[in-house]
Symmetry: C2
Subunit: 354 residues, 2 copies
């Protein structure tokens, strides 16, 4: 069954956040609160180990829990039964949890909006960035996938360009923040940096190598062709979201010692002419994009300064004379927000608007 | 007059390091010492403000200065007269100093090996990377230019590939260290990072913006086409060094919070097939290159771990299927050594060998 023959969502749905104690789960709760998401109830689900913890949440759908920080949610264990009354389940607890619980969630009648990579490339599972392919969200069969963080900000930027001329090839190099590896990884960047400055031995647990004052040219595991899974995701997910199977994407992913915004240097080759002015106008009027592009003022987006923001920021837009029709640009977005939690909540909003 | 009709260099030349108190100047002295450069005398020259300072130097050509750290050089003011007995002048004191002193240096009969960008693109001034175009050094007219740091490591990597098949287009994104902006900039990265961790106001003097936990997509000034001068340098210098005017280079330069090694993600398109295996072998046997490329062992070069090394390190070599004949690789080199001081001393060694 697809969205059109499922039970309609109530105007005030019950929302579960699965993985509520993680970096993305906490950000999902914050985004629900900040955007005034009209939940009738919000459940914070996590592993048995985290059950009983309190998470501050002052949005709609909170229950009778209050402490000095305002309202809070008490974390419950994620069990198949926990989804009985749930209408929308926002998952960010890893691919294995998503796979294990998918059947229970869908059988309960809830829509699963999944931040893991488990179902993204599955036929019949929409892979949605609301600014780019909102209608795809409505064709779901109980599961909607939230794309990879690096992919999301790139397709937000590519979509308005694709409306100007067909995209032929994209070469992207990423500058990815620690947050993409979770809350503990962000802590490790902090801790390790302090250890480095103090001349202490470095604690290396969450990353394969030192991340303080370093760049690691590996994100996720290696595949047989010596690319990484992160690079593969950027290739296949971009094609799926943009419905552009012919688009060539060459992705190169690097972790940098930044806390929570990803940056990307993007080179685009078009099949027809696109002027810098036209691209500038397309970006300026595109949903979800903020242009910060004034070389004379040294104005361009920077990942260390944009944590907590919602837009995809674009700068360094310029002509690339090395191909017939080329442009370069630099884009930055908060990995935990547009790259994960915000995009998932925006998908939930699309479903409600229907 | 060119190298062939200048007075021959003595086997034990008098060497001046101009800008001896700067990050590159100090590294030049260290490289001269470490490589056993057969100087008969070494002069440490700097601004009047630095005159009288002591710089540790235990190599050949030191004079009668000793303290607890071993031998040292006493810094003298850089004046036109200071070059009277000099055979080789290694300059790293900024373009203005190089321009001001060029005539005096050349008139004295010394060869100027200049690390600034002042003369790099001047016709008749060889732009030399000893592993790539050593013979160009011998065609000088008194001045040899040391290329831009980002350019040097890229051409060291591209040269063995160019021997396999003609290079058509290169798209490079850089991850450049603080050292490229000088010793004070490295200090600023340290200081600012500590301020950030301590929740203190940040000291921002050497960079246009915060560099701690940030990436700045601007190096050097902006040009009229919205590229930066650093990007322009990578384009024009690469073509000059490789004698490849037709090669297309799309360069994108970013400062990252790393101390002194630059990293680059390089995408290469060839005019004819080049296999990953052939590229691997070419790199393995090329001068100045160390391969660190074993995905199964998570082995690849990383800029935070290679400070003080001399090679250009290459990893993440892989096929790029998005063009007919494409490869991607990642390269890392110490910006102060191969990117500046070492390359300059290697040029001096080429002149001596002649």
């Amino acid at each position: 069954m697809n969205a059109h023959n499922r039970k309609p969502l109530p105007a005030h749905p019950v929302v579960a956040v699965v993985g509520a104690t993680g970096a993305v789960g906490r950000e999902m709760l914050l985004v629900l609160e900040q955007r005034g998401f009209p939940a009738s109830r919000v459940l914070a689900l996590a592993s048995a180990r985290s059950a009983g913890q309190h998470i501050t949440y002052n949005g709609a759908g909170t229950t009778a829990h209050y402490n000095d920080g305002g309202a809070y949610l008490e974390v419950q264990e994620t069990t198949p039964e926990a989804f009985a009354d749930v209408d929308i389940a926002l998952f960010s607890a890893g691919g294995a949890a998503s796979e294990r619980l998918r059947e229970a969630v869908v059988a309960s009648g809830a829509v699963m909006i999944d931040n893991s990579s488990a179902f993204r490339m599955e036929e019949g599972v929409p892979l949605v960035v609301p600014e780019v392919n909102p209608r795809a969200a409505l064709e779901h069969h109980g599961v909607i996938a939230n794309p990879n963080c690096s992919t999301i900000q790139m397709v937000v930027a590519l979509a308005p360009l694709a409306a100007l001329a067909p995209l032929k090839r994209v070469v992207v190099s990423t500058y990815q923040a620690a947050s993409g590896a979770g809350a503990a990884a962000m802590d490790e960047l902090y801790t390790q940096t302090r250890e480095f400055l103090d001349g202490q031995p470095l604690t290396i647990e969450r990353f394969a190598h030192q991340i303080a004052f370093n760049c690691i040219p590996q994100i996720d595991i290696f595949l047989d062709d010596a690319s990484t899974k992160e690079e593969w995701k950027m290739v296949v997910e971009t094609k799926k979201i943009l419905s552009a199977p012919e688009l060539e994407v060459c992705a190169n992913c690097v972790r940098v010692p930044v806390l929570r915004c990803h940056a990307e240097m993007v080179n685009v080759e078009f099949a027809a002419p696109v002027s810098v002015d036209a691209a500038h106008e397309a970006f300026a009027s595109a949903p979800g994009i903020v242009l910060q592009d004034d070389p004379a003022q040294k104005l361009y987006p920077m990942p260390g300064l944009l944590a907590g923001t919602d837009a995809t920021y674009i700068g360094r837009l310029r002509h690339d004379p090395t191909v017939p029709y080329g442009l370069n640009f630099w884009c930055v977005a908060d990995q935990l927000r547009k790259g994960a939690a915000l995009n998932a909540v925006q998908i939930a909003e699309l479903l409600l608007a229907e």
